[in-house]
């Protein structure tokens, strides 16, 4: 049963019927899906959710599609890992990693939003789908579109990591690289979406797409034993995930599925592209667009459309925002890999790096539950760490060649 009521402008409150539109005709504000929660009645319980298959659609009543999903039916329910080793290093009591580095099928959190966007696109009758992407989204759109029998176009900045280009191209999508930064890609796609009859997941079907993010936070709460965490650290590019984590928690509280824990939400950015973090630290709600320059390319949005709302979520929830340098990002990627055995992409390095900083600053207390959001896989951004791993020692295939190496390691207490 769908309880979707309408699309509503976040700025002026104008409401629209469900359609592939994303911008208010009156004030240009972004449109958001709103629900009639009362229509859910008493039936939407923990038991009902637990009785369903372990994927993001176990919360389908709170996602904006009609009936069953037609794309990405297996997506979601990634591990929430209790990070015991990392707890010791950071000196905190209760730390979790929500690990979407292993999200099915394309190893990033984007599969969640894409399965909603493409299911909705099919409902609307589109046969071609497209996206502007910093990489993860391109791979996810390409893979899920192919599996659903849809044609796809993906638009990316020209300087993306090889893993992300190949990780989209292999699905036989049309890849178009734009000479410019992500913000240029975004602008062009907005114009293309006005001209071609395609479902652009992050343009004309964006209100539906963005709702898919909520499943990430629903899972965190269910996996914590139906509890909201006290602190969540979220990576920010456009700021969308930050707002949707907040929305998801509020929905679960409203529906009585969890108790209000007063969750504080913290946003993480790379220093080389930190317009939202800067606005929070400077105590303003004005977001000044920047030209991005960071290895965390999946977060390199200089003109973040949801920045204003993310800023507000952080302020109102009692959270904060920080940013980290490229070196801190690499250090954090290695720290996560070498404590928990989780290889995150650069965005994950940003999130852990910022979490570490906020803990050291005393902004996140050491004795309360903390969730760190890892949203993508390190195998797609090998360039970031390939020069920083232990040296590979090549030997002949003989025990004689190996023995001295083992002895040397033993002597060095390795």
């Amino acid at each position: 049963m769908s309880i979707v009521r309408a699309l509503k402008c976040r700025e002026c409150g104008s409401e629209y019927e469900i359609a592939p539109v994303h911008v208010c005709e009156f004030c240009f504000g972004p449109l958001e899906v709103v629900y009639d929660y009362d229509a859910l009645g008493e039936g939407f319980t923990r038991e009902l959710i637990e009785s369903r298959p372990q994927n993001m659609w176990r919360y389908k009543e709170l996602l904006p599609i009609e009936g069953e999903p037609t794309v990405g039916a297996e997506v979601g329910f990634t591990p929430l890992v209790r990070a015991k080793n990392l707890e010791k290093v950071l000196g905190v009591k209760e730390l979790y990693i929500k690990n979407d580095a292993v999200c099915y099928p394309t190893l990033s959190f984007k599969d969640r939003v894409v399965s909603v966007a493409l299911s909705k696109a099919v409902e609307f009758g589109f046969t071609t789908v497209a996206c502007a992407s910093t990489g993860n989204l391109a791979g996810s759109v390409a893979a899920n579109a192919t599996a659903a029998g849809l044609k796809s176009y993906v638009f990316i900045p020209h300087d993306l990591e090889v893993g992300k280009v190949v990780g989209a191209g292999v699905y036989d999508t049309s890849i178009v690289a734009i000479e410019g930064q992500y913000d240029d890609v975004n602008r062009l796609c907005s114009e293309i979406a006005g001209k071609y009859p395609w479902a652009f997941v992050n343009v004309n079907v964006r209100p539906f797409y963005a709702e898919g993010s909520k499943s990430y936070a629903y899972e965190i709460m269910e996996q914590l034993g139906w509890k909201a965490p006290k602190h969540v650290v979220v990576p920010m590019a456009s700021g969308s995930l930050c707002t949707k984590v907040d929305k998801a928690i509020k929905e679960f509280v409203k529906l009585g599925l969890v108790e209000d824990a007063g969750t504080a939400i913290y946003g993480a950015q790379a220093t080389g592209c930190s317009p939202i973090a800067r606005s929070v630290k400077e105590g303003t709600d004005l977001i000044h667009p920047v030209k991005a320059d960071t290895i965390a390319k999946s977060l390199a949005i200089g003109n973040p459309a949801d920045g204003y709302y993310a800023n507000r979520v952080m302020k109102e929830s009692g959270g904060w925002s920080e940013d980290v340098s490229d070196q801190e990002i690499v250090d954090a990627i290695k720290l996560l890999a070498q404590t928990e055995g989780i290889f995150a992409e650069t965005a994950g390095g940003v999130t852990l790096g910022v979490a570490k900083k906020l803990i050291e600053q005393g902004r996140i207390p050491r004795d309360e539950s903390i969730v760190i959001c890892v949203t993508g896989n390190g195998l797609k951004t090998l360039e970031a760490v390939q020069d920083q791993i232990n040296p590979v020692r090549t030997i002949k295939p003989s025990l004689k060649a190996f023995d001295p190496l083992a002895e040397a390691d033993l002597a060095a207490n390795k």
């Binding site: 975004n186 602008r187 114009e191 964006r206 990576p235 700021g239 969308s240 003109n303 949203t375």
Partner: protein, 93 residues
């Protein structure tokens, strides 16, 4: 001088469906005023009560965001292309 202005889908109701219009203007501020004169209702959509370009509206001159230029004072010259684009959230997070 004459400037080509690309109109986004939500504003095409004001331009009888045209996705591009020609407007005479010396700078971006004047362009918005002249757009309003030719297609009533434009200015309210593009600017807030104080006359500043709305938070969710991006105006580009030859592919550069006017926020990186001189905002509404950005000078226009013959042959410049102006594009009005609603802000959209990203392909990232």
């Amino acid at each position: 001088m004459t400037i080509q202005v690309r109109i986004p889908t939500p504003l095409r109701r004001l331009t009888d469906g045209a996705d591009e219009v020609s407007i005479e203007a010396e700078n971006v501020g004047a362009l918005i005023d002249n757009l309003e004169a030719a297609h009533a209702g434009m200015k309210d959509r593009l600017c807030d009560d104080k006359g500043d370009i709305r938070r969710f509206v991006n105006v580009y001159v030859n592919d550069e965001d006017v926020r990186f230029l001189k905002g509404k004072s950005t000078i226009l010259k013959e042959g410049d292309e102006v594009s009005i684009v609603p802000a959209i959230a990203g392909g990232a997070l």
